[in-house]
Every structure is written in C-alpha cells, then in structure tokens.
C-alpha cells in the first residue's frame, strides 16, 4: 500500500468541492484515460475582480488524484486568476504534506487542469507540451521522458551526467540499469555506443567559491524556518558532493532530523543543479540510527 500522508487520506475520504458546479465559467479537462487519471476542474470566476469565487472538481483516478483535486480547489478558492496560476504542483503536494514519488504526477495534473480552466475562461485554447514517461528514478521521481530529453539536449553520455543534470540515479542507484538503457537508446540514435567506463562530462560549471557561497546562502535561507521550530543548522565543511552540517536543538531528534536533512538536501540539490549528500556531524549523529530502527 502507498505511503500516503494523513492529509492525503483525509482529502480522499472527505473530498472538498466534489461534483459538478452550476454556473461554472471556466472548465479544464485534463489527464489521460490510459494512465487512469483524469480531472475536470470547474471554476466560477467573478468577471470584475477575476477572483475565483468557487471551484469544483470531478476526478477519475486514484486516491492521490482525488486528494490532489480536492486540495487544489481549496487552495485556489478566493484567489485571483493570476494568483492561482502561480500555484505550482509542489504547492499542491506540500498542501497535502507530500505525495509518494509515483504519485507526483497527480499534482502535476491538478496544476494543468488549472491552466486549462483559466485558458477556457479567457477564451484561449490551452495546449500542453507535457509528456509523461514511465517512472525511472523513484528516489527523485524522474521519468523516462525527462531523462531522454535531457540526454538529447545536453549530449550526455554517462549515468553520472544524467544524475548531475536531472538528479535521477543520485540516491539508491537501483535505477542505473534503466538509465543505462535509455542512454544506450539515445546514443545509438547519435551513432554512438554507450560506454559504461566513459568519464562524466564535468558538471554544469560553477566555480568552487561560487559553489560554496551558494551552499551557504541556501542554508541561510532555511535557517529561520528551523529556528522557528526551535532548531538550528550550521555548515561545517564541503567535501566533494558531501556537505557536512551540524544540527542543533529540536532538529537533532531522530524523526525531525531525517525530515530536516532531506529538506535541506533537496534545496541544495535544486540550488546547485548537482547531486549532493547532506551529512550530519557531531555528537548525536551516530546515536540516532538505532532509535530510528526501533521506531520503524
């Protein structure tokens, strides 16, 4: 069974704003019946203020598709169209306290329904360039299409390259066979052969100093949030792709620490455009492993 958050379950069991909406003046139908997820989003927009006064949905789909639809309607009610268009699929996922990687596309579908409904209200036609492939890397929710496009666009030739550009493959490494297969296919198109011993092309260049500054900046940006929760974080050292930090206060408890480190790592990966690993150092770092094990 999927590891759904309580919030996802709650929105699935008690969906808000479900069913047809009389007097809707913006309707977006998106999704794919072959994938088993499709959604009709209905908006009632006040023409003077361009404010969304009501939003309903009808969804053919799984638990997280229904929960994402429900969350979306709650998020956008009362927003202006422009505000609503700024809602990202990550916002929808965050609202639901996260989605499993296999299910991130449900939040993407929500966002696209929104764009389609707004386009419909404005009398525009909405076209979507979105193409979804099979999920290759579960650690980072990266699908085959994105990997393939990135390899083509950047002339990549190694798994490490793919990890540097897309993050795919930078975690448990279980997806490396799948990535190699895609590389083999795309390289064959260019008349080349995939060579597993080839050296990675250097990562998108960022000077050492710039890189460290970026890391510092990113950590600084996250500090206020951590401090609000009674914790803190300090950068200790950068060792290749390992970023050593020390966590303090509430952050250093077992459960919290894992969550915090995951979040910091994610932000750093995004900021740097390369895969890095955030490693906690300090007295507590060794003790928490066993505590986690008993909790799980």
């Amino acid at each position: 069974m999927w590891d759904y958050s309580e919030k996802v379950k709650e929105h699935f069991y008690n969906p808000r704003n479900a069913g047809p909406l009389d007097g809707a003046n913006g309707i977006g139908d998106v999704g794919s019946i072959s994938c088993g997820d499709a959604l009709r989003l209905m908006l009632k927009v006040d023409p003077d203020s361009e404010r969304i006064t009501d939003a309903h949905f009808q969804t053919f789909g799984c638990g997280s598709a229904i929960a994402s639809s429900s969350a979306l309607t709650e998020i956008i009610k009362g927003m202006t169209l422009d505000e609503a268009l700024a809602v990202s699929n990550q916002d929808i996922a965050d609202y639901l306290d996260g989605l499993p990687p296999e299910k991130m596309h449900c939040s993407v579908m929500g966002r696209e329904a929104l764009q389609a409904a707004v386009a419909n209200y404005r009398g525009e036609t909405w076209t979507d360039e979105h193409e979804e492939g099979a999920l290759v890397c579960k650690c980072f929710a990266i699908d085959a299409v994105l990997i393939e496009d990135t390899i083509r666009a950047n002339n990549l030739g190694t798994v490490e390259d793919v990890t540097n550009y897309t993050k795919a493959g930078g975690g448990c490494a279980a997806c490396h066979e799948g990535i190699e297969e895609i590389l083999g296919r795309v390289l064959a198109e260019r008349g080349e052969r995939f060579d597993p011993t080839a050296k990675a092309t250097p990562a998108p260049a960022m000077g050492n100093l710039a890189r460290i500054r970026k890391i510092e900046q990113t950590i600084e940006q996250m500090r206020p949030t951590l401090q609000r929760d009674g914790g803190d974080i300090d950068l200790i050292d950068v060792d290749g792709n390992r970023i050593l930090v020390s966590l303090k206060g509430a952050c250093s408890g077992c459960q919290m620490e894992a969550v915090t480190l995951g979040g910091v790592q994610q932000k750093l990966i995004e900021a740097l455009g390369e895969f890095v690993k955030v490693v906690p150092v300090g007295a507590h770092a060794h003790a928490h492993g066993s505590a986690c094990a008993t909790e799980a």
């Binding site: 794919s32 019946i33 072959s34 499709a38």
Partner: protein, 402 residues
C-alpha cells in the same frame, strides 16, 4: 468484525499445521541435511518426506522430479534459461501476452539479448489463440512457456493440450502453475509437460519456497551451480523449515481440493452474482466458465481501482486491482489490455480471491460493502451523472494530453 482477506492470489495465510510442522526445524532439528551425522540425517529424512508430499500433489512419476527452489520466480527463470542453455542453437521462445512478470520481464530481457519472443494473444475472455500458437512451434523454438491459470482473472489455459502440441513439434514445454497448484487437480505423469513452477505461499505454505518440476530426461542446465544439493540441479543449502512446511501444505491442499472446487467456488459465485446484481456498469472479466474456483475479477466502469481498494480497506476488506496506480505504472494491467478491456473499465478492475479460510458471513459483508463504495466514487467521476454514465461518456469527457 475482523478484517476480510480476499487477496489470496497475492499470498495466503500459512496454515497453523504448516507452522507447527516447521517449528522444530528452526530449533532442535537445525542440522544440515547433507551432513553425515545424526543431526543431518533426520533433517534429510524430513526433506525427503516433503518431496514425496509435493510429488503426490502434482502427480509426478518420480520424487527426483521435484526440485526445491526459493520461489515461483526462480522456478520460472530456471526453466526458461535452462531450455535456452541446453539448446543453444534454438533462439526462439513462445509465451503469452498475459503471463506473470516472472515470465514476461525475463522474456523482454532475453529479447534485448537477441532472442526472438513470440507472444501469443488472447481473446476478450482471455482464452489463448491456439492456432497462432501452433503456427509458431518450430525447431527454432527452445521453449514454450504458458501459465496454467492466470493470476488476475483465474482463466485456465489448456496447458496439457498445449504441451502435447509442443511435444509433437519437438519443443520443450514449461508451465507457470503458481496459481493452479493446490486449486486444480494436477497429474503430471500423464501429461507432456516438461517443467512446471509452483510457489509455496500461494497454497498456505510460507513465502520464499518454490518448486520446479522437471520431468525425467528433460535436458537441464542449473541456474545456480555449487554444492550437490537437489542432485546438483539447484545448489545452495536447503531452506529446510520452508520445505517441510510446503510438504505439509501440499498434503493439506490435496485434502481440501474438493472443498476448494465446491464450497469455495460457490462462495466465489455468490460474491460475483451478489455484486453484479446490485452494481450497474460492472462485469466479470476473463473466461468465467473456465477459471480458478477462488477468483472473481470484476470491472467497475468509470472509476479507478486504487480508490476502490482504499475505501474497501477502510471497511476492513482486502482485495487487489489491475489499475495503473496500484502498481505505479502508466498503463493498467497488461492482462486487461490483452483482453481488449477499454481503459475506462480496465482501471476499475478489482480482483477478489478467496481461500478455504473464507467464510459465508464475510462474503455477505463484501456484497453489502461494495455497491455504496462504487456509487460514492462514481459521484466523483466526470463520466458519471446521477445514476448512470453520461450518454457517450468517452465523447462527453475527453481530457486533453498524453
């Protein structure tokens, strides 16, 4: 009210008698069956007994035709790879479009390595196209591999006849009987089946134990080489407790064979009829007159299976679905697609699989629980209005993109 488990094609509960029989082999009977001393001797005898019990269940002529493996998947891989290695001049494989991934993923992989795979299709009821099968049999084929019963719909293939056809063409025949063993009477000595896979956890034995039946004189190449266990055909120290458990489970399965095909079958029929009588736009998939006695696979149109499962689970009912979302893939079950079931129904398939532990009162509870769940999800569905689907639902709601 306890939870209701109707997912026995996924796995079954170990029979308490199986567990009781296994326990001593974790404690005082810990010896290695290969050892010369008394610690090993008793254990060796226990393995021998279990082999005979399995032999009886599947009607094998010799006990040496029973090779213990670690699971159904290993048995499938061993059989297919053995046929290829033993006959290196033969570069083709015949199988069906509806096999378990244990066979299909391997076939796909072998295709990448240069083998030719013929996948024989099925009709709308999941019945195999025997003419297409016959047409592919040739001296180039190393092995024909077809499941005895389908894990999703329970549909039974005529594997005994198909094995005869293969034999006439001089082609080895393997059947993945993981779902059939223990539910259907099997008498291998009177068939032309060369190899058969079974898995303990589908018949109330533990997970992680399987068997490859290998008809005497079938040419064979082991998957694992090493010690002389299983006469050198599957090296590695035996999983003795699980083997002993499987032996007892085999004996119990034989005892319950009639019960499975009468009482369990009747409950299955009542479940299916009870649901279909109340729920519109729903139908049973597969070859309903020729399927496993414990399996009913029902397609609920215009809703999605994972959502159904989550709501069933909330009511304490466990089943499974062929929707894309339950497997995290982009397509619904390949079995439903192979039968040509439209997407609007394929995603809404739910498999109920019973066992000899299922009770009448449980069936009644499920019959009551399902209709409101389906109605509730249809209320959310863009294909549905009031108490019926939209007129021309696929035109009325035609979402854009991939």
């Amino acid at each position: 009210m306890g939870p209701i488990y109707l997912d026995n094609n996924a796995t079954t509960q170990c029979d308490p008698r199986v567990i009781d029989a296994m326990m001593p082999y974790f404690t005082e009977q810990f010896g290695n069956p290969s050892s010369m001393h008394s610690f090993g001797n008793k254990v060796g005898l226990a393995v021998k007994k279990a082999r005979a019990q399995v032999q009886t269940l599947i009607g094998a002529e010799h006990d040496s035709e029973v090779i213990f493996t670690s699971c159904g998947t290993e048995s499938d891989s061993t059989a297919i790879l053995s046929a290829l290695r033993a006959q290196p001049e033969r570069k083709e494989i015949i199988t069906s479009t509806v096999e378990h991934p244990a066979v299909l993923s391997l076939a796909e992989h072998l295709e990448k390595e240069g083998y030719t795979v013929h996948r024989i299709g099925v009709d709308g009821q999941g019945r195999i196209d025997l003419d297409a099968y016959r047409a592919k049999l040739s001296p180039n084929v190393a092995i024909a591999s077809f499941m005895w019963a389908n894990n999703e719909t329970g549909t039974i293939f005529p594997v005994e006849r198909m094995a005869e056809m293969a034999h006439e063409a001089g082609v080895m025949f393997h059947t993945d009987a993981v779902q059939a063993v223990g539910k259907l009477p099997i008498d291998l000595r009177n068939t032309r089946i060369d190899m058969l896979s079974l898995s303990g956890h589908k018949l109330h034995a533990p997970k992680g134990i399987g068997v490859l039946y290998l008809k005497r004189s079938t040419r064979f190449r082991p998957l694992l080489r090493g010690g002389h266990q299983e006469r050198g055909r599957r090296a590695g120290t035996e999983n003795v407790p699980a083997i002993v458990g499987l032996g007892v489970a085999a004996e119990l399965a034989l005892e319950h064979m009639a019960f499975e095909n009468t009482t369990v079958k009747r409950m299955r029929d009542q479940l299916q009829d009870g649901i279909l009588a109340q729920v519109p736009n729903a139908f049973a998939t597969g070859d309903v007159d020729n399927r496993l006695p414990n399996t009913a696979n029902i397609a609920f149109e215009y809703i999605e299976g994972e959502a159904i499962l989550l709501l069933l689970n909330k009511e304490g009912i466990a089943a499974s679905s062929g929707s894309a979302c339950t497997s995290g893939s982009l397509e619904p079950s390949h079995v439903m697609r192979a039968m040509g079931i439209p997407y609007t129904a394929a995603h809404g398939t739910v498999r109920f699989s019973l066992s000899r532990h299922t009770r009448d009162c449980e069936i009644e509870r499920v019959i009551q629980a399902v209709p409101p769940i389906v109605a509730r999800l249809r209320k959310l569905s863009p294909y549905w209005a009031g108490d019926r689907p939209l007129a021309e639902p696929e035109k009325a709601f035609a979402p854009s993109y991939a």
